[in-house]
Symmetry: C2
Subunit: 235 residues, 2 copies
């Protein structure tokens, strides 16, 4: 049996990254879930992600970074609205929407690379998807390849130790329905995952998903097309 | 006259980045000095950098990130010693020293890219140097080229707007002495710059440079070889 290898999994507790985490485990990796508190409006995501990692018995770290002072996105600035009720067929097809966060995946992957080097890991999992997605440029295969190339020039482990860093994107060519089917086959409990960009807070009860942002819409469509009951609590 | 263009300058208030800032200005850019408080031991650098940017009349931002929890470097972990009194000829030639911070320039450049996109800048200045340096892999030309390539795949401004991001590394092939001569010609006051990795704190007086870490040694050698009096207050 090969030795267990550590992998850094970028983890938001959402549908995609939770599936990516399950895939990493199914491939024999020992995952470290790397969660970012970056000043996102939907900070409920951070607590949910940490709790989910705990429930899954996965080690996690919360990396603090401040993207709110930078702004430039509906996810980090109160001055920019999260789009709602867009026609489903527009999502991922028109211009890049205001929920795009400048350089976010580059920033996240950079930290993942630092953590990988410190922990002796060579594998990073990222649940990006370039089919049923919002059209973000830093989710595309050519971007991921460029980061992988950069990683192997950036680090001591690569330059002195000959390490090759691998960015795994197991979902990149999946539809949302395929992601869900894969996750269900791996035992993922999607009722514990959080996708919504604009949570609805309710007194005395956990927050609900809005059901109207792009992320909720892609999620709903995914369950519908997968023929899997959608366990999400929508407002 | 061409319009003034904004540039993001990664700024530590050290000898190299202060010279890079002066060069950016001399080339007609309006610099934004981006300073990182990343949990560095020598946090005196952050205050000095902000004060220096202010004195130069340059807009600055302090970006908060936490690299201390990641550790893995003598600059971010109290458990790893900063090397001292190494023979001058060893510096930059042997193995990468423990002052290397995993993925640091990748993390810094990622934030610079986000800021550039938000502010509409296309130019990023980085005072790296691959001659009189500590041998860090993320200071080499091939690394910088790989980041530039990544940047133009990562961002909305590039993908939708056709923007090309340029990483300027005006010092990359300079010796330390050449950097100093260039800075002096541009009016840089090096008495206000801070290079030391291990400041010596003194009651009632500003901290002094240790004079013994790699960074102090490279600085000293630079002034000596440039034939310029070294204005640094060493302990």
């Amino acid at each position: 049996m090969p030795p267990i290898r550590k992998a850094i999994v970028l983890f938001s507790g959402g549908l995609d990254s939770t599936t990516a985490l399950a895939i990493a485990r199914s491939e024999g990796f020992e995952p470290l879930a790397l969660i970012f508190r970056y000043g996102q409006r939907h900070a409920v995501e951070v607590e949910a992600a940490a709790a989910l990692a705990g429930a899954l018995g996965v080690e996690h770290r919360v990396q603090e970074i401040d993207l709110r002072s930078m702004g430039g996105s509906a996810l980090t600035s109160d001055a920019i609205d999260v789009p709602r009720d867009r026609p489903e067929e527009e999502i991922g097809r028109g211009p890049i929407p205001p929920t795009y966060v400048p350089a976010r995946n580059t920033i996240f992957l950079s930290f993942a690379l630092g953590w990988a080097e410190v922990l002796g890991a060579r594998d990073i999992f990222l649940g990006v998807n370039a089919l049923d997605y919002s059209g973000y440029p830093d989710c595309r295969p050519e971007y991921i390849e460029a980061f992988e190339r950069l990683a192997s020039l950036a680090c001591r482990a690569a330059v002195e130790g000959g390490a090759r860093f691998k960015i795994h994107t197991p979902l990149i060519r999946f539809t949302k329905a395929e992601i869900i089917r894969r996750g269900v086959a791996l035992g993922v409990d999607y009722s514990r995952t959080w996708s919504c960009y604009a949570p609805v807070f309710r007194t005395g009860r956990p927050p609900a998903a809005c059901g109207r942002c792009d992320s909720c819409q892609l999620r709903r469509k995914g369950f519908r097309e997968a023929g899997v009951p959608d366990p999400t609590a929508y407002a």
